[in-house]
């Protein structure tokens, strides 16, 4: 049953792949942007999962909180989770939010100038522009 022990990783990869599929297969730009966010969320879960610590005797690690340090490390705080990936993901979440907001801002502008957010319709419009340009450059 080793596979079940990796349950969180399975879920993380599943979320990533759902997001990745959405980015590639969906033709609606908003859906693409949201799938991109989902893809990144899968990576967050992946990192958080890797921080979990379980002592050899099976005791789960506790949250790496300040109180363990407050008593000056006089007593052994016991096993605790790795705080580093949590901190990294805090930054990565900020990055993910900014990516999503820039994407949505661009999509908003696309809607304003093209009148649609469907990739197919947009490429039709662009092909028409390119065709016209080609005729002009003859």
């Amino acid at each position: 049953m080793e596979g079940l022990g990796l349950f969180n990783y399975w879920i993380a990869v599943a979320i990533m792949m759902v997001g990745f599929y959405g980015v590639i297969a969906k033709r609606n730009l908003v859906k693409q942007a949201i799938s991109l966010g989902l893809f990144q969320t899968g990576v967050f879960l992946f990192y958080i999962t890797m921080s979990v610590y379980r002592a050899p005797d099976g005791t789960p690690g506790r949250a790496p909180v300040w109180e363990a340090i407050l008593d000056g490390f006089t007593k052994d705080p016991g096993p605790y989770d790795n705080p580093l990936p949590h901190v990294l993901m805090l930054t990565a979440i900020v990055v993910g939010v900014s990516t999503l907001s820039v994407a949505l801002a661009i999509i908003m502008n696309i809607k304003r100038l093209y009148g649609t957010v469907e990739a197919d319709e947009i490429s039709e419009i662009e092909e028409a522009i390119e065709h016209r340009e080609e005729l002009m450059s003859r």
């Binding site: 893809f39 990576v43 990936p85 990565a92 820039v102 994407a103 661009i106 502008n109 340009e133």
Partner: protein, 503 residues
């Protein structure tokens, strides 16, 4: 000044970062934001030069800076050696020249009340790119990569005031770029799992220990991490066939942005590839199969994109496709993993930045005067904008690799590297690529000098600031082509830093 010297590595990143934040507070109209950005990037060049001077005093050593004085294992370390200092100098110089150039082009292409925001984002992009080169912390690389990418997406999207296709190009870049960055993040995650550290040198050490213990034999984690990082980097540096975002993004971006991004952004991606493949994975992971695949992609990239460039009718698009092709040379160079090949890619980073920068700038001047960059607009410009077109021609000759221009030096190194390894077919591809590049450069040069202009509208020469910028780059291309010692020694040194890690 002496008090600042120990802090140089971090100042390189913080100067444009805070400069960018302050630029947003400048008055919206008028030249204030531009003057401010020129000052900031000028100071950045000064800092980069002092950095290079420091590195040259003790070329064997790495200058380390620990942010907040946390040791490298816990905090973020910035490490500068011969290779970084060189790439940072390239980025800083190109940023400064592009900022000088940007004045007229931005006045023309960006609405009058957005200039402060434009320059703010512009400086932030530069900060991100310099930061990627300076940092030795893998997660910090990811963050700075996203800073530079997000700002570049925005800068490209600002091309919407001239052509709405800039928006779709920018979104495409955003989606592919974010996938690439997330892949890199995932790869870093696997390495963190394996080693418990984020610092590159420390990671390398841990992996070496594991290798000595025999823990790495058949280890899947490192394989997966390596693969994710390589694919992510391939997307970021527009390695063929992962280049799909590039042509439209460069074509529809505002002229100044095309000049800056084409000459620096992908180069920074190449630098990251150097670091990851040689410094981090060198002698740990047998990357010969990956490098062979990269050589394959590089050669196909040179041929296919050069042919696409020869077919395009928009000069900006010709230059964009040729950028993908030129990146192929860089990829082919470092895929040889011998000293001369890596030196060729390091030299080509600068040479391509200079030539392509000059050409995009000349092209932007035509956009300013003629309204677009169609091949037709170039008809007969040789007589009407002689200085601009001369700069374009010098850049074009550099792209082909004519002797006495910088392109010749990089191709010379590249071919000697290929022959050194007995890979004569790589040398053939490089020569074939040069032949095709003659075709696409000649199409433009023919239009410039041998065609009659369509209508008799008076066309002025480009503004003074634009001319200065493009001529700095064009003359740099010639100087670097005549005096090969200048870059050659630095690049060979940088190559030894990289390959030395691999053996």
């Amino acid at each position: 000044m002496d008090a600042l010297i120990p802090h140089l590595p971090v100042l390189l990143v913080l100067t444009p970062l805070f400069g960018g934040l302050l630029a947003a507070l400048m008055p919206r109209r008028g030249p204030a934001p531009w003057i401010w950005s020129a000052l900031v990037t000028g100071f950045e060049v000064f800092l980069a030069l002092s950095m290079v001077k420091l590195v040259r005093q003790s070329p064997q050593e790495t200058i380390s800076y620990f942010i907040g004085w946390w040791p490298a294992e816990y905090g973020i370390a910035y490490e500068i050696d011969a290779l970084n200092a060189y790439v940072i100098l390239v980025v800083a110089l190109l940023a400064f020249v592009s900022t000088i150039y940007a004045k007229s082009s931005v006045e023309d292409e960006i609405p009058k009340d957005r200039h402060n925001f434009f320059y703010s984002i512009w400086l932030l992009a530069i900060s991100g790119m310099v930061g990627i080169c300076a940092t030795a912390d893998t997660f910090n690389i990811y963050v700075l990569l996203e800073i530079s990418s997000l700002t570049v997406y925005t800068l490209i999207a600002m091309g919407k005031y001239r052509d709405r296709r800039a928006l779709t190009a920018s979104l495409k870049y955003l989606i592919l770029g974010s996938i690439g960055a997330t892949f890199i993040l995932l790869g870093i995650g696997y390495l963190l799992m394996l080693t418990g550290t984020l610092n590159m040198a420390d990671m390398h050490e841990q992996l070496m220990l594991m290798k000595a213990k025999g823990d790495l034999a058949g280890n899947r984690t490192i394989l997966v991490g390596f693969t994710f990082i390589t694919v992510g980097l391939g997307l970021k540096m527009a390695m063929w066939p992962l280049h799909l975002w590039l042509p439209n993004a460069y074509t529809f971006a505002p002229s100044a942005v095309s000049a800056l991004v084409a000459s620096t952004a992908t180069k920074v991606g190449v630098y990251m590839a150097f670091r990851f493949i040689f410094t981090l994975f060198g002698s740990i992971y047998d990357s010969s199969a990956t490098l062979a695949l990269m050589a394959f992609c590089g050669t196909l990239g040179i041929i296919v994109s050069s042919i696409r460039a020869a077919q395009a009718t928009n000069v900006k698009k010709i230059l964009a496709y040729s950028s993908v092709g030129q990146l192929g040379y860089i990829v082919v160079g470092f895929s040889m993993a011998n000293e001369s090949g890596v030196a060729a890619s390091v030299i080509h980073i600068l040479n391509h930045a200079v030539t392509k920068g000059a050409m995009f700038m000349a092209c932007g001047a035509v956009v300013l005067r003629m309204g677009n960059a169609d091949l037709k607009s170039f008809y007969g410009l040789g007589r009407r904008m002689p200085a601009t077109m001369a700069a374009f021609t010098i850049g074009g000759l550099g792209l082909i690799g004519m002797p006495l221009t910088s392109g010749f030096i990089s191709k010379f190194y590249l071919i000697s590297g290929a022959l050194h390894d007995g890979k004569w077919w790589l040398a053939m591809v490089v020569l074939a690529g040069s032949l095709i590049s003659i075709v696409y450069v000649w199409r433009v040069i023919e239009a410039i000098y041998f065609r009659k202009p369509d209508k008799r509208v008076p066309v002025e020469e480009a503004p003074f600031t634009m001319l200065i910028a493009m001529w700095i780059l064009a003359s740099a291309s010639v100087i670097l082509g005549v005096d090969a010692e200048l870059t050659g020694r630095l690049a060979e040194y940088a190559a030894r830093v990289l390959i030395g890690g691999a053996t």
